[in-house]
Structure formats: structure tokens, C-alpha cells
């Protein structure tokens, strides 16, 4: 059965050989975290990728797109991600590597992209330094300093003078903490306390008690999107910090659409900064969220879905520019300076760093049509990652 199929494929390939070389399929190797505690990350990014292909057709510059998906669970084991990327290159002969949910995965795979000369599209991992690890990396998600700086500025301008910072103890957390302190201090604010908490299974109760005793105006919190955010908000509620007059300000990871419903009404009124909200008002986002709701009625689109969607968009546009070639040098060159309208708003790729430039929005959790939404009320346009300046 398999043999006959292979023979037929071979015969078909021989026939097609006369045709243009561009008829070769475009193989995209996706390293996603699809099981374990970070399974929602891979799911959302995959949804975004598939939505793009469903909308725009699965043929790019004359080449049919083939996705080869690998699960690098738990997502924090670089050796697993690296092995999978190696296999995608030598065994599956992929043209492009994409995905990479968490920082260790992106860091471990960067040398593979460099050595194998494959474009590497980072669709989630958010430590600032990632794009410096290989000249073939292009990022379509965000960096933590990029999201954090506008929030610090906003807070200082809006009567928040004393802030206690809580961040997850890993690359993105350190980035967020560093940037917040820097920007907030420059704007005249004061950091009255800071703490780093474990990435996995954090218990917030003892930290929150300490925060309450310090009586800051607000707590700045960064935790990786998911369960930790729910646990934080629950603890915040239980310890009665809101009643003590302490506000929560956060990067949007805390309140992403995937988990905001499990936080519930205690999220109402929380201010955050982020690059994507399901409630973003634009024709692109309306089309995106409508298509998402139709294809995946059980889930809500979040920033990761948007990054997957945009990552695929980038691949499609770059290949149109290079005439179907996925050569890493050409790819990176063509990607530099590329601009388009994403569901999150206008975005572009920084020609200097291959990182994303985007609008960062300040949002407030509000109930819209029965759903908790991050409603945008302020924004900072074309904002570059300050972590690399």
C-alpha cells in the first residue's frame, strides 16, 4: 500500500520535473508545544497558521504548503526542541523552521537555523535577545520590554507613584522587570519592592501578603500566559488587595483571551498593556475573529493565534518577493522592513534587528456583550523593542 503510493508519487514527481521548479511543495517545520502545561500555546499558534492558510489558500508563490508539526513538550527542554528541529531539517527536508513557544526552545534551535541555513520564524517566545542568536531569525510575536515600557510610562502619568513588581523568574520575566524599573524610574516613579517567582506552579499567597503590607499604589505582574495568571488573580482577590486600594497593572499575558474567562469578574477593571486584543476594532481583526469563531468555536483567539497568523502572512509575502525561494539569506533580507496590516493593527519587521515593530495598546478589562474583553483606550504607535537599544 505504502509502496504503491510512493511509486505513484515518484512517477508523478518525474512527470512534474519538466514543469517549473517552483512546483516543489513548501515544507514548513513547526516546533510547537502541544501537550503538557503549555499545550494551549501550540494550539493557539497552530490555529492562527491554519486560519491564514484557510483564508488565503495553501499555495504560496506557486508552491503548495505542507506543515510538518512536532510537539516539543514540555516546551522548556531545549534538547527536545533542538532534536526535533534537527530532524525537521535532515529528515523532513523542511524549507522553513517556525513556531517556538518558549524561550529555551528558541535559544536551543537558533544554532540549527544558522548551521542549516533555514529561515526561523519565532511565533511566540518573547525574550528580547532571541533575534540576536541567529541572522535567520524573524519574530512575529513580541518582546517583553516592548510591551512593558508603555505600561510603565502610562502608570507614571496616571497617578501611580509606588509600584511593587512581581515577575516569573526566567528570561521574559527578567526582561519585563528590568524594563519596567528603568522606564518607571525615568518617569519619576518609585519601585517599593520586587520579587521573582518560580515559573512553574507558583503559590502567590506569601508574596501577596508582603505586597499588602508594603502598601504600594499598584502591583506590576508578569507571568507566562495561562494558569499562573488565574492563580495570581485568585490570590489577589482572597487577600483583599483590591480593598486595600492596590491596583493591578500587567502585561497582557495575565489576561489573555484563552484564560480570562477562568479568572472571571475579579479581572474587571485591570489595566494592562499588550499588542493584541480580541476586542481590537479593525476590519482585519473582525474578519480574523469571525473566521476563528467559525473554525474553533470552543476557543477564543488570543495574541498567540495572531502571531501564528502573522507568521504565516510573513512567510507568504516574503516568498512572493523572492519568487518562491526560501533561501535563508534571501528570506531574511526580504523580510526586513516588511509592513502589513495585522489583526492586531499595523506591524512591520525592523530592518536592523528582524524583530517586530508594532502598536502597543493600554487596555482595561470590561464586559462587552457578555464577554470579558480587554478594551483598548490608549496606544503607542510603531513601538520598537527597547530591550535592544
Amino acid at each position: 500500500m505504502g509502496l504503491i503510493k510512493n511509486l505513484m508519487l515518484a512517477a508523478f514527481a518525474a512527470l512534474a520535473l519538466g514543469a517549473a521548479q517552483a512546483a516543489e511543495p513548501l515544507k514548513i517545520g513547526l516546533v510547537l508545544t502541544l501537550s503538557g502545561p503549555f499545550a494551549a500555546y501550540g494550539k493557539q499558534v497552530e490555529h492562527g497558521i491554519r486560519l491564514f492558510l484557510a483564508k488565503n489558500g495553501d499555495t504560496i508563490a506557486g508552491r503548495k504548503v505542507e506543515l510538518v508539526i512536532k510537539d516539543d513538550a514540555p516546551g522548556t527542554a531545549g534538547d527536545v526542541s533542538k532534536r526535533l528541529a534537527q530532524e525537521l531539517v535532515v529528515k523532513d527536508n523542511v524549507d522553513i523552521l517556525a513556531g517556538f513557544m518558549l524561550t529555551p526552545s528558541a535559544f536551543a534551535v537558533a544554532p540549527v537555523a544558522t548551521e542549516a541555513k533555514k529561515p526561523m520564524i519565532v511565533m511566540n517566545a518573547a525574550t528580547s535577545a532571541i533575534t540576536t542568536k541567529s541572522n535567520y531569525i524573524v519574530r512575529t510575536s513580541m518582546t517583553l520590554p516592548q510591551i512593558t515600557a508603555p505600561l510603565a510610562t502610562w502608570a507614571a502619568k496616571n497617578g501611580i507613584k509606588r509600584v511593587y513588581t512581581i515577575v516569573a523568574d526566567y528570561g521574559p520575566g527578567h526582561d519585563a522587570e528590568g524594563q519596567f524599573k528603568k522606564t518607571f524610574a525615568a518617569a519619576g516613579g518609585e519601585i517599593v519592592g520586587e520579587v521573582r517567582i518560580p515559573v512553574a506552579r507558583p503559590d502567590f499567597a506569601p508574596y501577596l501578603q508582603k505586597v499588602k503590607d508594603t502598601k504600594p499604589d499598584a502591583v506590576f505582574i508578569f507571568v507566562p500566559a495561562g494558569e499562573a495568571g488565574v492563580a495570581f488573580m485568585k490570590g489577589f482577590q482572597e487577600k483583599g488587595l483590591a480593598q486595600a486600594g492596590i491596583k493591578v497593572i500587567a502585561t497582557g499575558d495575565l489576561l489573555d483571551e484563552d484564560i480570562i474567562d477562568s479568572i472571571g469578574d475579579s479581572a474587571l477593571g485591570v489595566i494592562s498593556s499588550f499588542h493584541y486584543s480580541e476586542a481590537h476594532k479593525s476590519a482585519e481583526n473582525q474578519a480574523f475573529t469571525a473566521a476563528y469563531a467559525k473554525a474553533y468555536p470552543k476557543d477564543r483567539p488570543n495574541f498567540m493565534a495572531a502571531a501564528g497568523f502573522d507568521g504565516m502572512h510573513l512567510i507568504a509575502e516574503v516568498l512572493k518577493k523572492t519568487g518562491g525561494s526560501a533561501d535563508a539569506d534571501k528570506f531574511a533580507e526580504a523580510a526586513k522592513g516588511m509592513k502589513w496590516e495585522s489583526p492586531r493593527g499595523p506591524i512591520s519587521i525592523d530592518p536592523a534587528t528582524r524583530d517586530i515593530i508594532q502598536t502597543v495598546y493600554i487596555r482595561k478589562v470590561t464586559r462587552v456583550g457578555g464577554k470579558l474583553q480587554n478594551v483598548e483606550f490608549d496606544h503607542l504607535d510603531n513601538f520598537k523593542d527597547p530591550g535592544k537599544q
Binding site: S35, P74, K82, Q86, E87, V90, D169
Partner: protein, 329 residues
């Protein structure tokens, strides 16, 4: 005085290499030519097999149960990584450094571990590995924390073979180290030392009566097991040129125990076969069903353990008897 003569021939016979063993060791060589594009997976199988071997030494032979064996694996991994990062990128030197550190850590912690009975040992090994995990997590400047240790640059093996993308060097390197360590372990378990360990496992109260220093033997084997795990960790670092915090995680220890139970304890080969079966199944299942493969892997494990209670090795050992019984009917 009459000369006492003991017939050692059964023991000598047991220590001779059997044809099946030779065939077994030819398999990875054949695999190299059969799956030239899966060498990254094959080398990680070899490395995990060495790690499983180290647990088999202490659990399968000496009966010391451990839920924190990844601590030594992780120590070896970080030792090799840090050595390479700060300029000592020679693989063999890194391997030696990792072995020394893990052995020393094993020796020191053995006194803690061996104080109690099985349940306390479970807790102490778990505790030691959690402490090391958190220490590595906290020392971000040194270990890179959750982001992983970067900048691990390996020199070519023996100044000759660079670690390539296809994983050829990585595969031969891991395989040869595995074989040498296996050969050593095989000698060890067939020596009087190894036999005394089995005796301790079977009846710990009786062994002192025939003059075996039980505590000393257990310390020795625990120390050796830790050293083995350290070498395995170092191999993983050197072949992937990256250390993630996950090398010390509880899940790595637990998975290892699973592998060993699957393969069968106390036979050395069980550790190797268990690793190959587990990792191949994991790879295959996660390839065909990236979202829910863990369900199928779990189902497969339950079935295997139900029908081959002493692991795959136990099942293989019973095969001749089963066949004879069938012929008898």
C-alpha cells in the same frame, strides 16, 4: 588440611558474552546505516539508555529506589556545559569533569539516602533533586535558569570530528561511551561485588552474617550510579550544546523509572531495551498525534506492564519456557 575447591564454572559461563548479546550490539551499528536521518533521536536514545543503566545499577541490583536520579544527570550536564562555556571545550575532558563531580555528589548524598528504608529513600532522593533543581533555577547568572545555558561550544572530538547537524559524531560518540560504560557495568555486576549487591537486595539482614559490609557496598554502588548518570548528562550537553533546566526536573527522574520498569530491572539489557522501546514509541506516537500522544503512550505502558509484569526483559526470559510448554502440550 583439605583443599577447598569451589566450582566457579557456572559463574564463568554467565560472564562470557553470549551470541544474543553480540547480535544486540550489532543492532545500533545497523541502525546507523538504516536510519541515517534519525541520528539525533538515536543518540538521545543511547544517552538515555546510559542514564537508565545507571538507575538499574542502584535499583535493579542494589534495590535502592530513587525518584531523584536526574539530580546527578543534571549535575553532569551543567558541569560539561560550564566547562565548555568557559573554554574547556574538549568533549572527553568535559566527560571526565562531569563524572568526577557527579561521583562526588553521589558519594556525599549517599550517606543521606542510605539512612532510611525505601519510603524515606524515595523522599530523600526526591528532596535532593528538588534542592539542586531550585539552586540551578535561582543561579540564573551561572546556569541560565529556565532559559537554559547558552554558549556551550564544543571542540571537535579527539580534535578530529566536529559535531555535525546530521548527528553522526554525536551518535558514534554516545554509542561508544554507552558501550564502554555498559561493558564496565557488566563486569561489575558479575564480580563478587555485584553478587553481594544482589544478596543485599534479596535479604539485607542476612548479608552481614556472611561478612558483607552492607553499608559500604551500598555507598559504593550509589556513588558509581551517580557517576554513570553524570556521564549521561554530560553526553546530552555535548551532543546538543545546550543545557536546559529540565535536565534536573522531577519528570526526567520519573520517566527514567518508568523506562526501567518497562524494560525490566536487574539485567542491564532491560534498561537499554526499555529506553529504545519507550523513546521510539514516544517519537512515533507524538509524530502521528502531536496533541494526544501521551494518552496512547500511557495506554501502551499499562498494557505492557499488565502482560509482561517483570518488563520486556522478563517477558523475553520467559519466552523459551513458554515455547517449551507449548511444545509439551
Amino acid at each position: 588440611m583439605a583443599k577447598i575447591s569451589i566450582d566457579l564454572s557456572p559463574l564463568q559461563k554467565a560472564s562470557a558474552w553470549k551470541p544474543a548479546e553480540v547480535v544486540f550490539w550489532l543492532l545500533p551499528v545497523i541502525a546507523f546505516f538504516l536510519f541515517p536521518k534519525s541520528l539525533a533521536l538515536l543518540s538521545q536514545i543511547a544517552i538515555t539508555a546510559l542514564f537508565a543503566l545507571s538507575l538499574d545499577l542502584i535499583l535493579g541490583y542494589a534495590g535502592i529506589i530513587s525518584l531523584g536520579h536526574a539530580a546527578f544527570f543534571g549535575l553532569g550536564a551543567y558541569a560539561a556545559g560550564l566547562l565548555a562555556k568557559y573554554g574547556w571545550g574538549d568533549p572527553l575532558l568535559g566527560l571526565a569533569g562531569a563524572a568526577v563531580l557527579a561521583t562526588a555528589a553521589g558519594f556525599i548524598s549517599s550517606f543521606l539516602v542510605l539512612r532510611g528504608s525505601d519510603l524515606t529513600r524515595l523522599m530523600v532522593t526526591l528532596g535532593v533533586s528538588m534542592m539542586l533543581y531550585e539552586a540551578a533555577n535561582k543561579a540564573t547568572d551561572f546556569t541560565g535558569g529556565v532559559d537554559g545555558l547558552q554558549g556551550v561550544e564544543m571542540k571537535p572530538l579527539l580534535g578530529e570530528f566536529t559535531f555535525d547537524l546530521y548527528g553522526k559524531t554525536a551518535y558514534w560518540y554516545s554509542l561508544i561511551v554507552l558501550f564502554l560504560m555498559f561493558w564496565l557495568a557488566r563486569r561489575l555486576v558479575q564480580s563478587p561485588f555485584g553478587h553481594s549487591l544482589r544478596g543485599i537486595k534479596q535479604n539485607v539482614k542476612r548479608m552481614p552474617a556472611i561478612g558483607t559490609p552492607v553499608h559500604g557496598r551500598l555507598v559504593a554502588v550509589y556513588t558509581i550510579g551517580a557517576g554513570y548518570a553524570g556521564v549521561a548528562g554530560a553526553l546530552l550537553t555535548q551532543t546538543t550544546q545546550f543545557v536546559s533546566l529540565d535536565v534536573m526536573s522531577f519528570s526526567r527522574s520519573a520517566e527514567l523509572l518508568l523506562i526501567l520498569v518497562l524494560g525490566g530491572t536487574g539485567s542491564l539489557y532491560g534498561a537499554l531495551i526499555g529506553t529504545a522501546v519507550f523513546m521510539a514509541a514516544q517519537h512515533y506516537l507524538s509524530g502521528i498525534n502531536p496533541q494526544y500522544w501521551q494518552f496512547w503512550l500511557g495506554a501502551a505502558l499499562v498494557l505492557i506492564v499488565l502482560f509482561a509484569r517483570d518488563g520486556i526483559m522478563g517477558f523475553l526470559n520467559r519466552l523459551p519456557a513458554l515455547a517449551a510448554k507449548k511444545r509439551g502440550d
